[in-house]
């Protein structure tokens, strides 16, 4: 069995899958990184991804346009996170409960809408769409081995990986990034400088929502031809774990995302080989890994100090 696994083709396949599977995790986590750096913990990523994936699917189905589908998904993400920003930053309500509510809302609405939109279709003809497909990068895509792994992926995948240095640069080398990092640690300091704390938090949260929307769109139009209820399957939660495991740093988030994606790609390959382990154990592996990763990660030295705490100005 080990022999069959170690064949070059299979290794490449697993690694290429890893890169692909990491895409929504990375997009979601990077978006949430910015959100959390501004002090808001958006637990609604899972729901945002789910609803966005459905909207992307629906728009792709109705219009056959990938671009429209992606835009619709981004808008959905922005809308969901707008609710979060409003509740967290303006109303200063408990962020945990709001996030959970958003997840439940997305579950309910996506299921309901799916049933309504595709009422009357029998199980034989489950609605499907054309997926995005891959785009081979010229020259780089021809490198043996590496080309197949990294440079023969979907556009959203390239975007996800490019965003890693982009976001790191944004946070550490720009004035806005500095303000956002300060906001999550000490919002009063930012307020005292005359920066509009609320506006900055809105921008950060909505950015996170748009990224989650992109992640959601990838789940449907990026990979699968059909929509299933709860298709997001915990990826939003994994994105949250990845932010923590990455200790709020873009580079480490990339590593954590690849780790989880690898686990998923690996177990898929094992299933394909027909290994004698019940497939449920393999499917459960990423979730167990998440818990293990958090157990090993007690330090969390870089968590924004004011994360999850609403900022109220007047103590008078």
């Amino acid at each position: 069995m080990l022999n069959s696994l170690l064949q070059a083709a299979i290794i490449i396949n697993v690694l290429a899958s890893t890169v692909r599977i990491a895409t929504p995790l990375l997009l979601g986590a990077l978006g949430e990184l910015v959100t959390e750096r501004s002090g808001v913990m958006n637990l609604g990523i899972e729901g945002t991804m789910l609803l966005s994936s459905f909207v992307a699917f629906l728009v792709a189905f109705e219009t056959n346009s990938i671009i429209l589908a992606i835009c619709a998904a981004m808008l959905t993400g922005a809308f969901m996170s707008l609710i979060m920003a409003f509740m967290a930053s303006t109303m200063k309500v408990d962020q945990t409960v709001t996030g959970l509510s958003l997840n439940l809302l997305a579950s309910g609405i996506s299921l309901f809408w799916y049933r309504v939109a595709f009422k009357g279709t029998d199980t034989a003809s489950i609605p499907t769409i054309q997926t995005m497909g891959t785009f081979k990068i010229p020259v780089l895509g021809n490198i043996p081995y590496l080309g197949q792994i990294f440079f023969n992926q979907g556009l959203l995948t390239y975007l996800a990986f490019i965003m890693v240095p982009v976001i790191a640069f944004f946070l550490y080398r720009t004035y806005t990034g500095l303000a956002i990092r300060s906001l999550g640690e000490n919002p009063r300091a930012v307020d005292m400088k005359g920066i509009n704390v609320t506006r900055l938090q809105y921008l950060s949260v909505i950015f996170g929502g748009v990224m989650s929307g992109l992640a959601g769109s990838f789940i449907t139009i990026g990979t699968t031809v059909r929509f299933l209820p709860e298709i997001s399957a915990g990826r939003g939660w994994l994105a949250l774990v990845i932010v923590i495991a990455g200790n709020w740093r873009a580079g480490r988030i990339l590593l954590a995302a690849l780790l989880f994606a690898f686990m998923d790609a690996f177990q898929l390959q094992l299933q394909g080989i027909g290994i004698q382990i019940p497939f449920q154990i393999l499917l459960a592996a990423p979730y167990v890994l998440a818990i293990v990763v958090l157990m090993a990660n007690r330090a969390r030295s870089l968590a924004p100090s004011h994360l999850g705490i609403p900022y109220i100005r007047e103590e008078g």
């Binding site: 637990l43 609710i83 509740m87 303006t90 109303m91 200063k92 309500v93 945990t96 409960v97 709001t98 959970l100 509510s101 958003l102 439940l104 809302l105 997305a106 579950s107 309910g108 609405i109 299921l111 309901f112 809408w113 799916y114 049933r115 309504v116 009422k119 509009n196 609320t198 506006r199 809105y202 399957a233 915990g234 939660w237 949250l240 774990v241 923590i244 019940p278 449920q280 154990i281 499917l283 459960a284 979730y287 167990v288 998440a290 818990i291 958090l294 157990m295 007690r298 969390r300 109220i312 007047e314």
Partner: protein
């Protein structure tokens, strides 16, 4: 008009009972309005839909009893949420612990199947409570000793438990009904059924157990040192620590109780209603329990009417679908809308909105 920073929210310190009830009423109205829109999108008449919803839930004695039957697991998962959330322990594991309880009860049933009902049923309930409680306790231990957020460990746990159940009911698993292609166990024998309370209806003993649990949780929260410590920890963990409250003990014991209550819900559904262990034993009772608890204001007695409300929603939606064709999935949407409306309404009644004027 710049929406950012020109509006001042002054926190109102006193939330009167009137204010709180007003919040719930506002929430329900908002939910109805949004639901009406959704129903229209489903090409049905909102009025028809609502009428049938109510008819299905409360139309006759049988309907009312069925509503109460549907509310039974919700009371328990609601209580599981209340006790955890009062300590700001954000457990989302009710769904998973529900199944743990069902599995634990089923496992005990298989072992002690020969016993008469009077002995068998208490054993099943105890096993269910303990299994669910263990599940909850694991999350508590992970938080206490490894600082793993309860939210994440319970959500991950839900997935893991789901896969585990799937395995147990799969072709290679030990519990599948012999010869069946479906993921389900053989039917439960009659001597393990929860006693039915009324003839010709499905309302079972689990309902009484749920009511009793509600009172027990109330007593725990308000009349015991443990409940005091739990509430103190939820409100100000730092002060709790300084004044000697054993934080780890609070977290672990609370999660133990919470998991156990959710476990009782699961076994109630299995031995009281469905009589077969299947992955769809719960249509999301765990998650709905969270909403029930929030609507109840995290009050253990208030969980009962809140659970009945949502039980009515679930029960009535079947009739609604038959009569108007609106998918029962609407209930999931409505539940979430009620929760969000309630959150917003609570905030609005808690805060006075004051526009800050420019000094001219």
């Amino acid at each position: 008009m710049n929406p950012f920073g020109k509006i001042n929210f002054e926190k109102r310190e006193d939330v009167s009972p009137i204010g709180r009830t007003l919040a719930i009423v506002i929430a329900l109205i908002a939910a109805m309005l949004v639901s009406a829109i959704l129903i229209k999108l489903a090409n049905a008449s909102p009025l028809d839909a609502f009428v049938n919803l109510i008819k299905g839930a409360f139309g006759n004695k049988r309907a009312v009893l069925e509503t109460l039957t549907k509310s039974t697991p919700l009371i328990l998962t609601g209580l599981a949420t209340v006790i955890a959330f009062r300590g700001k322990i954000w457990s989302i594991g009710q769904e998973g612990q529900f199944f743990l309880g069902a599995m634990g009860g089923y496992w005990a049933y298989r072992i002690f199947a020969g016993l008469p009902a009077a002995a068998l049923i208490p054993i099943i309930m105890l096993a269910a409570f303990l299994t669910g409680a263990m599940g909850g306790m694991v999350a508590g231990l992970l938080k206490a000793y490894f600082n793993v957020d309860v939210i994440i460990s319970t959500v991950m746990g839900n997935y893991i438990i789901d896969y585990f159940l799937s395995f147990m009911l799969s072709g290679v698993g030990p519990w599948r009904e012999a010869g069946s292609y479906y993921q389900q166990t053989a039917p439960i024998a009659a001597n393990a059924y929860y006693p039915i309370l009324f003839a010709n209806a499905r309302l079972h003993m689990g309902f009484l157990i749920a009511i009793a649990c509600s009172m027990i949780v109330y007593l725990i929260l308000n009349h015991t040192p443990f409940g005091y410590q739990l509430r103190a920890y939820g409100s100000n963990p730092r002060a709790a620590k300084f004044k000697g409250i054993n934080i780890n003990k609070i977290i672990i014991v609370t999660m133990f109780i919470s998991g156990g209550l959710a476990g009782l819900a699961g076994t109630g559904e299995l031995f009281g209603v469905q009589y077969r262990l299947r992955p769809d034993l719960s249509p999301g009772y765990g998650y709905t329990g969270i909403i029930v608890a929030m609507v109840a204001g995290l009050n253990p007695i208030g969980v009962i009417p809140a659970a009945i409300l949502f039980g009515a929603l679930i029960n009535g939606s079947a009739q609604m679908r038959i009569a108007t064709g609106v998918p029962t999935a609407l209930t999931s949407a409505i539940q979430a809308i009620v929760l969000l409306s309630l959150l917003s309404a609570q905030v609005l009644t808690r805060f006075r909105v004051r526009r800050v004027e420019h000094a001219e």
